[in-house]
């Protein structure tokens, strides 16, 4: 497992860089420091069709959330920003 983002202690001390291999020893150390979860890199096993279907579903859900405010030009820009993010993340 690979760490998906850097981990920084509350006092600003860097604990692990993004991309660090999460070994058993490192996980035990983080557990002792009371970290219950760590962000790991996602490894996808989706086919292109499955990915497209999932994206379409997320876009439909986004449309449904904005259904009452689609006449507000500011909130339409918020929706567009979310759509851009959704597509960039894929």
């Amino acid at each position: 497992m690979i760490l998906a983002q850097k981990m920084v202690r509350d006092d600003g001390v860097l604990l692990c860089q993004k991309g660090t291999e999460l070994t058993e020893a490192l996980l035990r150390m983080l557990q002792r420091m009371n970290y219950e979860t760590v962000p790991i890199e996602f490894v996808s096993s989706e086919s292109p069709e499955e990915k497209q279907a999932r994206l379409s579903k997320l876009e439909a859900e986004l449309d449904a959330r904005f259904v009452r405010v689609e006449n507000d030009p500011i909130l339409v820009e918020l929706k567009n920003a979310l759509l851009r993010k959704l597509r960039e993340d894929e």
């Binding site: 006092d11 959330r65 904005f66 405010v69 500011i74 993010k85």
Partner: protein
């Protein structure tokens, strides 16, 4: 329709929030006792790493403007005072309640807190931590409604779903009040400052805020952003309307949305940062 004064009584009957873990109850009791010294509370808090971390984080936030880093709990208590500690204890207890059966609302509150903090920092507010706490507590009225009036709360949710309206709109139809009113009663009960009380009461009507105008506008927008992201569940899945006055108060442009979303999302990956 539930009588407004009767509900207010029920809400006020909550002297201490239920389900507080042992150490939080002890801190709460100690803070209420005028004979308690900072060293006493400090010793107790130091035993809880989560509360310790939060007290130190606030003590070192730009809001307080200390040039030297505060490194111990006792030192932080002297500087922050017992009232802030009370607010932190409250936050911890709210999360405890939310995690038991209100996971969606807990996630929504954490998301709103993260977005509030990001927007406050973007506006250069030195009290971004406090605005974050306002975001965290904004739907506290819903938590208490859910606990004190579970049947009415379920009915509100049913009406919201059936009519395709927001939970807030359904509250005003089914009850004679909304979670903002309940939030205000709670804030009064706990003597919370306007910086927390006004966002709790007016996050759906930010134009009515008087003393914490920008903080309320921030929480109003943060609530919209986190709902738009589809993160958590606060009773309905609709993006509520944006108040033009609040938008004007913030002085943001729509170009800011990409940056806000990029900053908020990673904060939601590790929810334990907020508990």
């Amino acid at each position: 329709m539930e009588d407004r004064s009767e509900v207010k009584k029920k809400v006020k009957r909550i002297k201490n929030l239920p389900t507080l873990p042992g150490i939080v109850q002890k801190i709460s009791r100690m803070v209420e006792n005028p004979d308690t010294s900072s060293a006493d509370v400090g010793r107790l808090i130091s035993q809880d790493q989560v509360i310790s971390a939060r007290v130190l984080r606030m003590a070192n936030s730009a809001f307080f403007g200390f040039s030297r880093r505060i490194s111990s709990i006792t030192q932080a208590l002297v500087v922050l005072g017992f009232d802030v500690v009370k607010g932190l204890v409250l936050t911890t207890s709210v999360f405890d309640m939310m995690k038991k059966g209100m996971v969606g609302l807990w996630e929504h509150s954490v998301g709103c807190a993260a977005a509030s903090g990001v927007i406050a920092a973007r506006l250069g507010r030195p009290d971004a931590e406090e605005v974050l706490v306002a975001g965290l507590l904004h739907d506290l009225g819903k938590v208490v409604l859910n606990l004190q009036l579970p049947e009415e709360s379920a009915r509100v949710q049913e009406v919201a779903a059936a009519k395709g309206i927001t939970f807030y709109e359904a509250e005003n139809k089914v009850l004679d009040f909304n979670h903002g009113d309940v939030g205000l009663w709670l804030a009064e009960h706990w003597n919370l400052p306007d910086a927390l009380a006004e966002p709790m009461r007016y996050h759906h009507r930010p134009e009515l805020a008087r003393n914490a105008v920008q903080q309320t506008a921030i929480v109003h927008l943060a609530n919209i952003v986190v709902r738009a992201m589809g993160f958590g569940f606060s009773g309905d899945r609709l993006v509520p309307p944006l108040s033009p006055r609040a938008w004007e108060e913030l002085g943001l442009s729509t170009d800011d949305f990409d940056g806000i979303l990029a900053e908020v999302e990673p904060k939601l990956l590790n929810l334990s940062d907020y508990t």
